[in-house]
């Protein structure tokens, strides 16, 4: 499955780069940060509640859950979810998939339709989420559960330097990149098609990624929860920044 979905040749990188240029040129990246900040400031109480939940997760849930999964490695249903979740949450799966859909829309000259517009918004949100998570991961520098079962290793620069892994995989646990990229891409679709059953079912997508990342001991519970939260805020901010394009389509349609 990996060679079919995750091994990208040079052509795909070139196409993704050109889709990025095409989307940036059309102004899809405008006003996302402002909208995200607006959402955060408008929902201050919710944000404080989420921060409290994250702290509680770090203190009381992270260690027991990861320890439980470490002790029980033969849960077959979770093995399947792990394989699927780790693949569908990977940027190497989501970026080319969204770029491919965007290209297909452009080649068929139907990129103004609701679905292909949503694809472009989703791609924008996904890119934004990817950049955001890279910055936050390198600042927080949290140790992953498979390195040591201690969820309190935040800002662990000294140990990372000692292990020659500063900004490396082992010390970039918080927040989960898979969860943030998956939710920033999929929540756009879930939000755009919120009146459909399919739109509601799409919320399962980030949940599968969350379970897979925690079960595979790549992340703590708090990492994936924060990832999905940040990804959702980015997705809704990107959607709102570009909602006029969808309304325009509906008007012309």
């Amino acid at each position: 499955m990996n060679s079919l979905l995750l091994q990208l040749p040079i052509y795909d990188y070139l196409i993704i780069l050109c889709v990025f240029i095409y989307i940036a040129k059309q102004g899809y990246f405008r006003e996302i940060t402002e909208n995200a900040l607006k959402i955060v400031s408008k929902n201050k109480i919710w944000m404080i509640l989420f921060v409290i939940i994250i702290i509680l997760l770090v203190c009381y849930v992270d260690y027991p859950v990861s320890h439980f999964f470490e002790q029980n490695r033969d849960i077959k249903a979770l093995e399947v979810i792990q394989i699927i979740g780790n693949t569908i949450g990977n940027g190497k799966f989501l970026y080319p998939m969204l770029a491919t859909l965007t290209v297909i829309g452009i080649l068929f000259k139907s990129d103004k339709s609701k679905f292909f517009q949503t694809c472009k918004i989703s791609f924008t949100s996904c890119i934004y989420g990817g950049i955001f998570v890279l910055i936050v991961k390198s600042i927080v520098s949290r140790q992953r559960p498979f390195v040591e079962y201690n969820p309190y290793h935040f800002f662990d620069f000294l140990q990372a330097v000692h292990a020659h892994a500063l900004l490396g995989f082992d010390y970039s646990s918080f927040p989960s990149g898979h969860a943030i990229v998956a939710s920033s891409a999929i929540v756009v679709f879930a939000y755009a098609y919120r009146k459909n059953l399919l739109g509601k079912l799409l919320w399962l997508y980030p949940v599968i990624v969350m379970i897979a990342r925690v079960y595979s001991l790549n992340h703590w519970c708090s990492d994936v929860f924060t990832g999905v939260l940040c990804g959702s805020v980015i997705a809704i901010a990107t959607y709102k920044a570009n909602a006029k394009r969808l309304r325009l389509e509906r008007f012309h349609g």
Binding site: S3, Q7, P9, I10, Y11, D12, I15, C18, I104
Partner: protein
């Protein structure tokens, strides 16, 4: 290098398929086969080519392949691996499809895009043609036995359970015909520029690589070069394409 150029994920197949569909819809395949067949009306050239191919089979194939089999240089072999890679359909089709997609994304719509679509149509047609012809001729490859006269070797192929498989599909060279058919439209249209002349080197390099690696006889690659150029010319010689190029 293979990972970078030849291992395609499912997305690339989807995009290539859509590009192919669009190229087909825009009429780039129209009368390609008729134009290809029309070229056989130049009987003089056809007979001359056939005589040259027969002479190559009789006098050149064996000495050249034997020489390369006995005295191959490791450094040259490494270079010819690049030629082998460049002649693969996966490389050529993906490259042309990527180029067409990038042009659509960057809203470039010039002569170069039309020629690229012609090149894609011509190389795909050549690719389909070569698969059929290879099966009919069923020629043994030099890497199996250094006997260039094993053409229509169905009995040998059956005996070794290799009918229609790699070892018995030497004539003509698939790599060379695909590259020649892809490059020919560019050469015909941009012949007056330096790039048009430099492009000739590409199919020649692929042809040399296939012979040097003992995957093909000299007559295989020579035939492929001729057929590839014919396909390339056929792709740009229909009326509608000429009108598009004139714009």
């Amino acid at each position: 290098m293979d990972k970078l150029f030849l291992q395609l994920p499912i997305y690339m197949y989807f995009m290539a398929l859509v590009v192919l569909f669009i190229t087909f819809k825009e009429g780039y395949f129209n009368s390609l086969v008729q134009n290809f067949i029309k070229q056989f009306k130049h009987i003089k050239y056809v007979v001359l080519s056939l005589i040259i191919i027969i002479l190559i089979i009789a006098f050149i194939d064996k000495p050249i392949s034997t020489a390369f089999a006995l005295h191959s240089n490791a450094h040259i072999l490494k270079i010819t691996q690049i030629g082998d890679m460049m002649g693969q359909g996966v490389f050529i089709y993906s490259l042309l499809a990527t180029f067409i997609i990038i042009c659509a994304l960057l809203k470039m719509d010039g002569k170069f895009v039309v020629v690229s679509k012609c090149a894609l149509a011509s190389s795909i047609a050549a690719g389909i043609f070569v698969v059929i012809v290879k099966g009919i001729f069923s020629r043994e490859r030099p890497c199996v036995a250094l006997d260039p006269h094993h053409i229509f070797a169905y009995h040998l192929a059956m005996l070794h359970h290799q009918f229609g498989k790699f070892n018995y599909v030497s004539f003509p060279s698939g790599h060379t015909i695909t590259m020649a058919a892809a490059v020919a439209p560019f050469i015909f249209i941009y012949w007056k520029t330096i790039w048009g002349k430099i492009l000739i080197l590409l199919p020649l390099f692929v042809a040399f690589s296939r012979v040097y690696g003992i995957y093909h006889w000299t007559s295989d690659v020579f035939t492929s070069l001729i057929l590839g150029v014919m396909f390339g010319y056929a792709a740009i010689s229909s009326k509608s394409i000429k009108e598009r190029l004139a714009k």
